[in-house]
Amino acid sequence: MRLKFFLRMIFYSLLRRRMRMLIALTAVAVGATIISGMVTVYREVPQQLGREFRAYGANLLIIPANEAATFDTNKISDIREILSGHEIIGAAPFLYERLEINKQYILTGGTNFTELQRVSPYWQIEGAYPAAGGREVLIGAQLAKIFSPYEPSEIIGQEVTISAGEGTAMKKYVVSGIVSTGGKEEEFAFMNLDDLQQIVGKPNQISIAQFSVVAEGDSLKTLEQKISSGVTGIQPQLVQQIANSEFNVLSKLQVLVLLVTAIVLLLTLICVTTTMMAVVTERRKEIGLKKALGAANENIVREFLGEGCLLGAFGGLFGSGLGYLFAQSVSLQVFGRGIYFSVSIAILSIVLSIIVTGVASLIPVRIATAVDPAIVLRGE
């Protein structure tokens, strides 16, 4: 009955003092909104930016172990299993072999072009990627100049003869496009992996696999170790430039967001403390009355902390919802992608609001306990 009446008292104290409650609730809710929003942004920024970074190419390479030239394609599915839980943007297998194209030895890569486009979206293609199952080949821009010195683009649509070398069967392929990357790839030719494996007689063999994984610096290193110990016959390698710059940018951004969150938390604390102090000042007479009626200091402390915590809970509840909308809008505006509502962040912001309001109430509560009950007799 005592607890029931206590709850009734603090509940009505908020409910029936609507204007005052609304001001205090707004202060807490605004704080909770920003905190919940910032925490969501803090959590989401690495993931969202991680995806953005994937446009710069693979961040994890898989090469054969023990100086072998190739490894089995099945290893890719084993690696995918280890990476489950992380978003894999793409995993492009490559087999590199020297082929004779139009009587010239050219380093040729066999790959899965669907995966390649995911891993290396920055490749510029004039024409088109080779169609799956079609006898088509993609020529690097430098190579195109060799085949068609006056007008390299004229090579597109023309037939080239390809063989594994002298004395092997020659096959005709159509050039589907020219690739420009600004890198070594411009000197290579590319065809479907199955075709290359068949031509060179290395079924299910690849020389390298390029993975584009959404993972932050440290977790990527952990993944590298897991793959290294979990899959035999291969050796994982991080693409250091990409991984390092990604890690640096993300770390700096996270520190920035963390600092902003900490400052907002401090400002919220000050704001709520000020509001609670105003509430206490305004209720000096009520506190004096309760003490005149025999309330001990503990009773007054309990009531004000109770009110503060209730206020924090309601403010946190509103704030976590509004914070999600804030973070959602930030994510949509900046990254063009939505984010999921996180129950854990909602609970965190409610708990944080309760703690902040509780802590913010401590100074006013100390003032409250110092109120002299005699003020009610003096009519002050």
């Binding site: 005592r2 206590f6 029936r16 009520e286 009626l293 025999g294 001990a296 009519g379």
Partner: protein
């Protein structure tokens, strides 16, 4: 033995301002005493000391066998809670609680709040039909009656009323005085502090203060 006994009680503020000087009187159980005097005579200071909200700087105050000059602030709060029922001039009801909840507040600080007991006290002052009204929805007279019901709820040994009719019109003043007469008839010990001769005359005995001393 007297319920309340003051022996040579004095109160000096900041070592200079002498608000009370050598006050001696006693109040028997069941007695109704009025403390009167003009503004600045020391009525409020005396009321604070008797109501356990302040401690005298000199002399002895014995309430129901307890020497108030000997106890700390926490004990004073406890004595106030257990032994005194207060009625204020400005009613002082908690604005966000209903009439019955305002009575239950006093129960809450004393022990267990009980709706039935609170309703019985409200009925006693004729306000059972106003139980769920907020103070802002009650007239001055009604608020004062709620205040009296709150003062009675914990069965205090002493009812201390500060200008209980000071903010009331004549009709409500009569109503409140009638309740005080009923309480006195039931055996309650009452001290009213007032500057009104009419209210003072209702008590059995008047103590008149002037410049911190008992004039008569």
């Amino acid at each position: 033995m007297a319920l309340l006994e003051l022996k040579d009680v004095s109160m000096v503020y900041n070592g200079k301002v002498r608000a009370l000087d050598g006050i001696n009187f006693s109040v028997e159980k069941g007695e109704w005493v009025a403390i009167m005097g003009p503004s600045g005579s020391g009525k409020t200071t005396l009321m604070n000391i008797i109501g356990c909200m302040d401690k005298a700087t000199g002399g002895e105050v014995i309430l129901d066998g307890i020497d108030l000059s000997d106890v700390d602030a926490d004990k004073l709060t406890e004595i106030r809670r257990e032994k005194i029922g207060m009625v204020f001039q400005q009613f002082h009801l908690v604005p966000y609680l209903t009439a019955v909840e305002n009575i239950m507040v006093a129960q809450y600080y004393h022990g267990l709040p009980d709706l039935n007991d609170a309703m019985t006290e409200l009925k006693r002052v004729g306000l059972e039909d106003r139980a769920n009204h907020l103070p802002s929805q009650l007239s001055g007279g009604e608020q004062q009656r709620v205040c009296i019901a709150r003062a009675l709820i914990n069965y205090p040994v002493l009812i201390l009323a500060d200008e209980p009719t000071g903010n009331l019109d004549e009709a409500n003043q009569n109503l409140v005085m009638k309740i005080f007469h009923e309480l006195h008839a039931e055996g309650h010990t009452i001290i009213t502090v007032t500057h009104s001769p009419d209210v003072g005359r209702e008590a059995q005995r008047c103590i008149v203060l002037e410049h911190g001393r008992i004039k008569s």
